[in-house]
Amino acid sequence: MNIAASILEIAVIGLGIAVMLADLWLPREKKIWLGYAAAAGLTLILFGSFSMSGNPATLAFGDMYILDAFALFFKRFFLIAAILVMIVSIEYSPKFQTGKGEYFTLVLFALAGMMFSASANHFALLFVSMELMTITFYVLTSFLRNQILSLEAGIKYLILGALSSGFLVYGIALVYGTTSTMDFATLREKSALMTDNPLLLVGLLMIIGGLGFKIAAFPFQFWAPDVYQGSPSSTTAFLAVGSKAAGFALLMRLLFVAVPDITLQWEKLLMVIAGITILYGNLCALPQRNLKRLLGYSSIANAGYLMMGIAAMSASGSTAILYYLYSYMFTVIAAFLIIILVMKHTGAEDIVHLAKLHERAPGLAGVMTLSMVSLAGIPPLAGFFGKFLLFEAVIEQASAQSSYYLLAAVAIVGVVISLYYYFGVIRTIYWGKQQMIPEDIQISPASNAALWVCSVVIIYLGIMPERLMQAATAAVESLKF
């Protein structure tokens, strides 16, 4: 048994328990400090993670748990996301009437689930880590207990989440029934000989369905807009970034490590999923007036772009996914932080509330513009290079299999559509008509720092992509293409 391999998760859970206990003794008005303490603790853990190496890979817990470059890459990703989300949560927490400490704790437990999922090398760990994450999110989404929208979001997420867990378990059972193994390494050998066993294929499709729910890919995307809109904004940010990335980490490991030979037969299926997800997300985002709902649909569209990387079924496709996730994280978290700051006292997050933001808070307007432009995929920002890598991966395959051209065409149509609504936000900021009495905007130092970090990284990743590219390439090597 090699417990040291999972030291990062243990540290995060320890931090969670410590925050939970401290919550018992801290007076009510000081609970906000728990958030800062958690963020500081996570920062320490993040620094600690750089003393670890995923090369060569370490196995633990009866080979259920693997620590390789890929897992470590994602763990760092989740840690950074959680630190930023923690700051977003602190900014949002005045809206919670009770249970601030619990909220911070739950974020930490969800993080632990995500970090475990990055290391899943066995269906049991895959399922347990998924559930740890999902069950925590049931609570996080309905945390505004007195708001009907938040409760609605929680219920929706609960019902559809339970359904997808059912899919997942049933699929796992079928796979186990046909191959009599749940271990990814063994499955790799066995599945190669059973590429046309219908029960195994049905089982795997169900598992993909269960994971598709997490990443909000078609046809499992229905929950996303409602849940994104109703949940507390900090939860939405974590859901958009963390939950999606965890889904992709699991999906990549499942498709490319556990059952690569079966995946090869599914290029058309994956392409169709990617294409429809892109079109669905972008088309539905067009008429949206609520900013969070818009970002919900945009997150579906982005799941579609990321699926392009899966559909490319190559090392460059997976590298592109890893790069894209980073760019997506910083842009989305910056956007949600601004939503919270600007719309603190308004009930609904309507886009018109951003009108004249440019005059009220030029800095925030600039960051929001950066974030929208990056989401639209325009240089010199992070989102552009991510999209470029995804396009490159898809077109690389097009010379062998011309249906990839169609996927690229769909993606282009998607990007052009998306420009309309992302630029609509920019339009509102700079020359929209103001309808409401503007609120004064106060920015805490932590939020200010987070916004600075996000905008600098958005530009940095667009102008200097070399470092992250190298890290992503190294991480993808663990996937054995």
């Binding site: 240089p379 470029f388 396009f391 490159e392 077109i395 920019i426 339009r427 700079y430 070399e466 590219m469």
Partner: protein
């Protein structure tokens, strides 16, 4: 460090400075913006003058510089100039300087306007000096967001939102289609590099199959075509320029729009010549659409900006005609028209902006006898209109006549004939505009037009007219440089297409041999 890098980074540096200045320091902001375009202009003139003597780097590019950027994909920051783009760089810096000069009328949010304009200028400069196809695309897109915001915030007219979106969506669509073509080149060449010189080297030795070339050229043609308003994808241009603030229209119509043509000449023709041949006929027909249809539309316009916008689309037809001829004279002419039209478009939009600032309308019926009220600016407008219909003495004439010669050699006579006939259409709308606005009785209204008050106001317009005249009277200043570089392009085209012919010849010899052998049996 190459002089080109200065030309590229000075505006960016200026943009950074402007961003840090306080909002109220309008004079200082103007000074910074002027300085960060005047210095690149000096650098560009210096580069242009010393071009012949400069040492040629890899691939024959002068003022060459290369910095590795992403090694995994072999993307490098790489700039250089040859005969094709040195003229464009010079034209771009003159137009940029002029655009900053005429922006004095921007009083609302001066700081933001100048910041965005300088970013756009940097994007423009980067586009025309990059010899890495990734950066080529990168810099073009860099200018997109500033264009969007500039038209949206400082634009004019009731439907400026529509115009803003239309232009942005069209430009993005075109750029993305072209990007697919560029990435296909990267993938299919097998060279795994975005370095234009290395790509050229690779493709010279192992050309891509004819089918793949046809696919790639198709993507590049329509992608770049949308960006240069190739008929029938041109509708964004008149609407967009009609709504754009003066400086944006000058920069975009004058310089940035040439990105597409430049891409076709620099990348598409030499790298996938067989593909070009396959699409030649389509291109020849589409450019007829530009020349005839858009000229015709321009005749019906009542708004000066719409007229200039449509006529600029029509002029692009000549450039496409030059490209379609695929010979030395035609392509050289196309490059010359590109440069000349850059000056012309900037001058026309600059002048229309001058008129708009005074009268708040560009409806030609509202004007009359303007030449009497503003003899200086009025005569400049006459000159711009004359240059537009191809009067000898202006650079446009030199370019268009060369294109027609080139087209005569390799395209069917009726194509060239129609293009020649279309020059008359140009004369009709140009002269009608002159008659309506500048001659006749002075329009009765409360706002009489003011002539340019001092040399500072005249400077940008004079600079542009002087450039048009200089290169019109001494076109050899440009053509000598252009011809040597275009000769290289034509050589690649010939080498590429000869392979095909020799292959065909070999095949026919072989089949002939087979038949002979069969006969012997």
């Amino acid at each position: 460090m190459s002089i080109l890098t200065f030309i590229l980074f000075l505006p960016l540096f200026g943009a950074g400075l402007v961003a840090m200045l306080p909002k109220s320091a309008k004079g200082l902001i103007r000074a910074v913006a002027l300085a960060s375009t005047a210095l690149p202009l000096l650098c560009a003139i210096l580069a242009f003058l010393s071009f012949n003597g400069a040492e040629a780097g890899p691939g024959g590019y002068k003022f060459y510089q290369k910095v590795a950027w992403v090694t995994a994909l072999d993307i490098n920051y790489q700039v250089g100039a040859d005969g094709i783009n040195i003229g464009l760089i010079l034209m771009g810096s003159i137009v940029s300087f002029a655009a900053v000069c005429v922006s004095r009328s921007i009083q609302d949010r001066t700081k933001e306007f100048h910041f965005l304009m300088l970013i756009m200028i940097a994007g423009i400069m980067g586009t025309f000096m990059s010899i890495d196809i990734f950066f080529f695309y990168f810099f073009h897109e860099l200018a997109l967001v500033p264009t969007f915001i500039m038209i949206g915030v400082w634009g004019r007219g009731k439907n400026k939102d529509y115009a803003t979106y239309k232009m942005t969506l069209y430009l993005t669509l075109g750029a993305l289609v072209a990007l697919v073509g560029l990435v296909l080149l990267y993938v299919q060449s097998g060279a795994k590099t975005f370095d234009l010189i290395a790509l050229q080297e690779q493709l010279r030795n192992n050309p891509i199959s004819a089918d793949a070339q046809t696919t790639i050229f198709g993507f590049l043609l329509f992608g770049f075509g949308i960006l240069v308003s190739l008929w029938p994808f041109h509708t964004w241009a008149p609407v967009g320029y009609g709504a754009a603030p003066t400086a944006t229209a000058m920069l975009h119509a004058g310089v940035l729009k040439k990105f597409g043509i430049y891409g076709l000449i620099r990348i598409a023709l030499p790298l996938v010549p067989q593909g070009a041949q396959a699409w030649l006929e389509v291109l020849a027909w589409l450019c007829m659409g530009n020349i005839l249809y858009c000229g015709w539309v321009a005749m019906r316009q009542k708004n000066l900006n719409k007229l200039i916008g449509n006529s600029s689309v029509a002029h692009m037809g000549f450039v496409f005609l030059g490209i379609a001829s695929m010979n030395l004279i035609g392509i050289s002419g196309a490059v010359l028209v590109m440069i000349a039209h850059g000056f012309l478009a900037a001058l026309s939009f600059g002048l229309s902006g001058y008129l708009y600032d005074q009268k708040k309308t560009l409806d030609m019926d509202q004007y009359g006898g303007a030449l009497r009220q503003m003899p200086f600016m009025g005569s400049l407008l006459v000159m711009a209109m004359m240059a537009g219909c191809g009067l000898p003495g202006f650079a446009n004439f030199a370019g268009e006549i060369t294109v027609l010669f080139g087209a005569w050699k390799s395209l069917p006579w009726f194509v060239t004939g129609t293009a020649w006939g279309a020059l008359i259409i140009g004369a009709v709308y140009a002269l009608r505009a002159v008659r309506k606005m500048l001659h006749g009785p002075v329009a009765n209204d409360t706002l009489p037009l003011q002539d340019a008050a001092n040399y500072w106001i005249k400077l940008p317009y004079v600079l542009l007219v002087a450039s048009l005249l200089l290169f019109g009277i001494f076109p050899s200043l440009l053509t000598d440089k252009i011809r040597t570089s275009v000769a290289e392009v034509v050589k690649s085209i010939e080498a590429g297409t000869q392979d095909q012919q020799t292959n065909l010849a070999e095949e026919s010899v072989k089949t002939g041999l087979d038949i002979q052998l069969a006969g012997q049996d």
